[in-house]
Symmetry: C2
Subunit: 479 residues, 2 copies
């Protein structure tokens, strides 16, 4: 095979990819273990040195992998790592891979059977904090691009490959949007691939196609200037805690649909085809409820549980408080009450429009004699890749090859994340490529990664970088 770049992109043969992976699996896992030993817990200030060590370790590893540019990017918080490896091909698409190198806190006494920062392989699984979320899933890209090169005989990937690995995801990515905005030109891409999610199960490979957005607000209701006696005044003055309750009750109608006028404006409804695909998934509601630690389902009429958490917007009460909350009773009309609400948003919903809708709805419900204040946090937009997007088809195809021809299905993620910032700032569609499974224990004791699945991730990317240029070209206008 030629060792010089050429302008034709050849497919990566499976046997060559698999041979490369097999040859390098052991060294790769040693690297992963080394990285997992660095307790890069972004939420613990005393670990900030470890977060930096983690960034430095990753930089060294990416350089060793072959990335031509590797930089540690400072933020007002923990550092991120950026790496770039140009294709050399004039018409190569540019792909930006996103992940994070910080991890959740972990301590042996939380219920770990092994030391959380001493990775341990047992029965084909590597246990350790960050194994799945997200170091394992960042790292498979290093062996993946090398397998891609080995199998295609190229010296640079067939796509312009960029990596952005942030260091504060587990702390809510407080500086991520600013970072992306600051480096928007360096990060420019045709496509973003987020490797920080998972698949349906070990036996059902899936690609996530979108995340919900979120808008949140805090509402403070003020009634009497101080708590007043409910005997002397109760029944004749408005009670802010009662008003808060009424606002909560007014969030939904009798069908559990959000009752705020305008809330559903622009919502991208699920097509019948998408609903059918979701319905085909082997969903075990009882098992899901166990995971949800909940004792019943309740949601928007006319939608299944999966549709509700993946594709439907919500209004949720995150917190409520007012009046006396100590032991026993206190016969007062409280001076104030407070609500924390959040709204999950789906594709087509505009957070600014939601804010306007909520403000207008609220203004019409608060009675005279109650003053209120409402403040919104910074929203996260929803993101969604259409099922017929060529990149999505390429990802699913590559994954199917890695999974021996298994049918790849589509999921969504109910949560919200920094992926939306990439979509917003870069104007690029976002795909989600993850091989973690629900049993991996994200944010829980005994987090692990299935090593065979990890290699499927490696393999998927090895194929993907080969397949993507043609897939995107085929779909280009005029193609």
């Amino acid at each position: 095979m030629s060792q010089t770049p050429d302008s034709a992109v050849h497919p990566a043969p499976s046997d060559a990819v698999r041979a490369h992976i097999a040859a390098h699996r052991s060294a790769f896992l040693d690297d992963l273990a080394a990285w997992l030993r660095i307790p890069s817990v972004s939420a613990q200030p005393e670990r900030s040195g470890d977060v930096r060590r983690s960034a430095d370790w990753l930089s060294e590893k990416l350089t060793r992998t072959g990335f031509t540019t590797v930089e540690v990017w400072e933020t007002d918080g923990a550092p991120a790592v950026f790496a770039e490896w140009p294709s050399g091909l004039p018409d190569a698409p540019t792909v930006l891979v996103y992940g994070h190198h910080d991890v959740q806190p972990a301590a042996r006494e939380d219920g770990w059977h092994t030391e959380p920062f001493e990775p341990t392989v047992i029965d084909g699984r590597m246990y350790g904090r960050g194994a799945a979320d997200d170091k394992g899933q960042v790292l498979f890209h290093t062996l993946g691009v090398q397998a891609h090169l080995a199998a295609t005989g190229r010296t640079a990937p067939a796509v312009n490959l960029k990596l952005l690995v942030e260091g504060e995801e587990e702390s809510g990515s407080p500086h991520f949007r600013a970072l992306v905005e600051q480096h928007a030109d360096r990060l420019a891409a045709d496509l973003a691939i987020v490797s920080d999610t998972g698949m349906w199960s070990e036996t059902t490979p899936t690609v996530c196609t979108g995340m919900r957005g979120v808008a949140d607000c805090e509402i403070d209701f003020y009634g009497p200037d101080q708590d007043i006696h409910s005997g002397s005044f109760g029944g004749a003055v408005p009670n802010p805690a009662t008003v808060a309750g009424r606002i909560v009750a007014a969030l939904h109608d009798d069908t559990e649909r959000v009752a705020i006028p305008g809330f559903y404006d622009g919502v991208t409804e699920l097509s019948e085809a998408e609903r059918a695909l979701i319905a085909e998934l082997p969903f075990d509601e009882a098992a899901w409820l166990t995971t949800a630690k909940s004792h019943g389902t309740l949601g928007e009429a006319g939608h299944s549980t999966l549709e509700r958490v993946w594709a439907r917007p919500t209004a949720e009460v995150n917190g409520i408080g007012g009046g006396y909350q100590g032991p026993g009773g206190k016969t007062i009309v409280p001076a104030s009450a407070h609500l924390k609400l959040s709204f999950r948003l789906v594709a087509g919903q505009d957070p600014a429009h939601i804010e306007t809708a909520v403000r207008g709805w609220l203004a019409g419900l608060v009675p005279a004699g109650i003053r209120y204040e409402i403040a919104f946090g910074a929203p996260t937009r929803p993101c969604l890749t259409p099922l017929d997007h060529p990149a999505l088809k390429a990802v699913a195809g590559a994954m199917s090859r890695a999974f021996d021809g298994a049918k790849v299905r589509y999921t969504r993620e109910g949560g919200s994340g920094p992926a939306a910032d990439l979509q917003d700032v870069l104007g690029a569609p976002v795909l989600f490529l993850g091989i973690s499974v629900p049993s991996d224990g994200w944010h829980a004791p005994n987090e692990k990664i299935e090593l065979d699945l990890l290699m499927k991730g490696v393999e998927t990317t090895a194929y993907l970088w080969s397949d993507l240029p043609a897939a995107l070209r085929a779909d280009a206008p005029g193609a």
Copy 2:
């Protein structure tokens, strides 16, 4: 005048009553000041010795006044004082006067212009903690019965006079009901007179005819076993904070009437005559709102503010809590939420029936997947004396004489108090005789009593003990 008891009860002439009061006013006020110097704050454990000193001081004063039996009654908390002065007349009615000798906490730095426990007379007012609530209003009964004797020439009152002065009213009377039950035979009376309320204003003498009762409950709602992620699960599982809000909203209908089925069962409605009497009162709603520290009125449709707080039952949210209440936001479906509700009750409502109604109503509203617990506290019954009760007419008549023939009007008290225990245990109607005015500053800095009004209280009782036997006899069956 005869100095021996006789069996005919003569009216107490005004000039004789007033002459006696004038002659003893100064010594009486010295006594009141001495009592006010004892900081009998029942809510402060370090003052328990002072509360006992206060009981002892009162015992000595009552003995000096002429009461034939004076006892300090122990409770599981602070001591009460009981005193008795039999009439000697075979058919004399028995009257039990209720008051309390404990006071609210007070400290100079709370905004007092004088030392709270160093009573100070300025411009005809005595300032000091307890001046109006309730030492002044207990003590006027001592000079009152002496004026009654002096003006009628009797050596014992024309009624069998009993006094019960508790020491924990400002701490919620936790042992009062047990005390009344324990001594029910000693306390037996045809009538209870509570001197622990006030009048409408300096220029509008009034008699309070009833208090609302109160039933309270705490409701805990449990959803997920722990706070769960609102992105992963929100929109598909029931949220206990949302349920708490819906329960709050369901408390009332659109007319602010309590919407719990059966809640109004048995309610003694205001007659048109009573409504007219209330409407005649010189009510300044703006001033009332200032007192209520509220910024608007809201209550049951079809009723005025005074009707709402005096004569209508209510459902009030005293406290609500659930989920995240700290700074910022947290996107969770909370594990639990909690409500503290209280219901003011009016005559005709039975607390046990209310509890049953609330439990049934709640059970029908909580969705599957939410577990709840509800617990009721000990209720306080409402009490109400009919406007045509002869004792009420006697009290109003005596008060009118003391106020130079002014028309005495009727009020009610929206709060709830130990008066209901007297009514329940003793089976006696309860009347309220108080001469305090709204500006007296109960529970606030610079509490005071108007000395001229205090003397009107003395004078009212001097007449009342003379008038009551005939008034009750006239109304007795067969009279």
